[in-house]
């Protein structure tokens, strides 16, 4: 195999993975269920395949490994992290995430179980398969509780429930769904967790040879119940040194017991009256444009860093860009009820001095359903702060100027 045939397999990339791989000079092999012409021309080897048929994808990868010198299998798509790990193991790559670690993070019931059993984070939880089972299980909880599917993502079907009836309804809703967002069967074991009261953050970190370094801490804004929709992120959030130590210890131990040796991770945490607790662990860079915020503030591009680590790189030789601003924030637009969108959208065409990026997924006058998860938000704006004004303040001002209403 010649050097010119060094390639990276990309599995259903979510963001700019293809560009990152091309920038490093590798051939690009793309696996996706459906590939349009534009994407077909943007890679070297486009392959349409049912990604839920993992055995078939692995077989195809083994065939490709005979033709190409495959250096890594890469995606930032949460749902496909285990498949990437499975392919990596099948073709003998040793630098990335193990399949077991990927599964431990992807499946929320496994995460909870491992964290609990290892005493790293003993959040009270129970697994149920039916609304009837929940009635008995709820005797150990006080309300509110969180009900969530074990293997979905993006806050889909995650509910904060105040009563037994709401729990029954939330479980029934998950059971009615049958499949998750990408068509995989919903895990029959549904999580009921104690509700953790307190502010929520995410820790963007990198683990290399089992040693974890925090790159940034993101402050999150979540909607009020019943839906847990992320409506804003701000970087950086500066913790007290005591909190920083606690958080660093918590996530280092968590990643260790989950089996993560080499990866960029996005760990969602909350500070409660009983201390810091983990909401979930993702074995990939955060979504929701968090990598963009982190790059503005730290110079690290988390996706680029994830690829660098998948290729066996270290933090010392990691690519780093100029820092652009002391703070950065994203705010999402949501429909608080179903109805017609009224919005002053001029900012999306004319810009704003502190607006880094913005996207409107709907048109003024369009009829939209209520936003119920991260998947049906209406758009976003990203602002960067200055030495005088924090990005969170600027982003809220921009948000206000949009005068978004749903009638």
């Amino acid at each position: 195999m010649s050097q010119s045939k060094s390639a990276i397999i990309l599995v259903a990339p979510r963001d700019n993975e293809i560009d990152l791989v091309k920038a490093k000079g590798f051939k690009t092999i793309l696996f996706r269920k459906s590939i349009n012409l534009e994407e077909a021309f943007s890679v070297d080897v486009p392959i349409e395949v049912d990604l839920n048929n993992e055995l078939l994808v692995v077989e195809k990868s083994i065939e490709l490994a005979e033709q190409y010198d495959i250096q890594a299998v890469f995606t930032m798509n949460e749902y496909r992290i285990p498949l990437c790990a499975r392919i990596s193991e099948a073709i003998g790559l040793k630098k990335g995430l193990s399949l077991q670690a990927a599964l431990n993070c992807r499946n929320k019931k496994l995460t909870r179980k491992i964290l609990y059993d290892s005493k790293v984070d003993q959040v009270q939880f129970v697994l149920v398969k039916s609304p009837d089972e929940s009635l008995e299980a709820l005797k150990q909880f006080s309300f509110p509780v969180i009900v969530k599917p074990s293997n979905d993502s993006g806050s889909q079907l995650v509910r904060r429930c105040q009563s037994q009836d709401e729990v029954v309804q939330a479980i029934q809703e998950i059971k009615n769904k049958n499949t998750n967002f990408i068509g995989q069967p919903i895990d029959p074991e549904i999580l009921i967790e104690e509700y953790l009261e307190g502010p929520e953050f995410s820790v963007e970190s990198v683990t290399i040879n089992g040693e974890t370094t925090i790159i940034a801490i993101t402050e999150k804004k979540i909607t009020s119940p019943p839906y847990s929709i992320e409506i804003g992120h701000t970087v950086p959030y500066t913790l007290s040194s005591e909190d920083y130590q606690s958080v660093h210890q918590l996530i280092s131990k968590a990643l260790l017991v989950l089996g993560i040796q080499n990866a960029v991770t996005h760990v969602e945490i909350k500070k409660t009256s009983s201390g810091w607790h983990i909401i979930e662990v993702n074995a990939r860079p955060g979504g929701d444009q968090i990598p963009k915020l982190v790059r503005i503030v730290t110079g690290y591009d988390l996706a680029e860093l994830a690829l660098h680590i998948a290729l066996g790189g270290t933090l010392r030789d990691a690519p780093k860009h100029p820092v652009q601003a002391p703070s950065a924030a994203i705010r999402f637009l949501i429909a608080d009820q179903p109805g017609t969108v009224l919005i002053n959208d001029t900012i999306f065409t004319e810009g704003h001095c502190n607006l880094v990026d913005g996207k409107l997924n709907v048109h003024p006058g369009e009829i939209v359903p209520q936003t119920t998860s991260n998947y049906n938000r209406l758009g976003y704006i990203i602002a960067q702060g200055s030495s005088d004004t924090h990005a969170s303040e600027i982003s809220e001002e921009i948000l206000k100027s949009l005068e978004l209403r749903i009638i």
Binding site: I35, L37, F41
Partner: protein, 102 residues
């Protein structure tokens, strides 16, 4: 969807056999076959066949530049045909007294 040919089961089966042999068998190499399919899909303006042909072509190692060249040949051939649709003879003579020698 029912294909019209399927109304005659025997002919449909014969067509399927012929189709498979033409596209997947025969004397041409896999690479040559996909070049022809690509050019045909372009000429027929069949977007779906074109997409599938591009995927296969790239899996066989064809580059974007090579696919672009096939497109250029198709465009050139079609262009030549269009150009020929309105052909007529134009006299280049400007000598109004040319009949004087007749």
């Amino acid at each position: 969807m029912i294909l019209v040919l399927a109304l005659n089961n025997k002919l449909q089966k014969e067509f399927d056999t012929f189709f498979t042999e033409a596209l997947e068998g025969g004397v041409l190499s896999e690479r040559d076959r996909i070049l022809v399919i690509l050019a045909t899909a372009l000429a027929m303006e069949d977007a779906n066949t074109l997409k599938n042909a591009v995927l296969t072509a790239k899996q066989l190692g064809l580059t974007n530049e090579e696919i672009g060249h096939i497109s250029a040949i198709t465009v050139a051939m079609r262009g030549q045909k269009i150009n020929g649709l309105a052909s007529f003879n134009v006299s280049t003579s400007t000598n109004k007294s040319s009949k004087c020698c007749e």
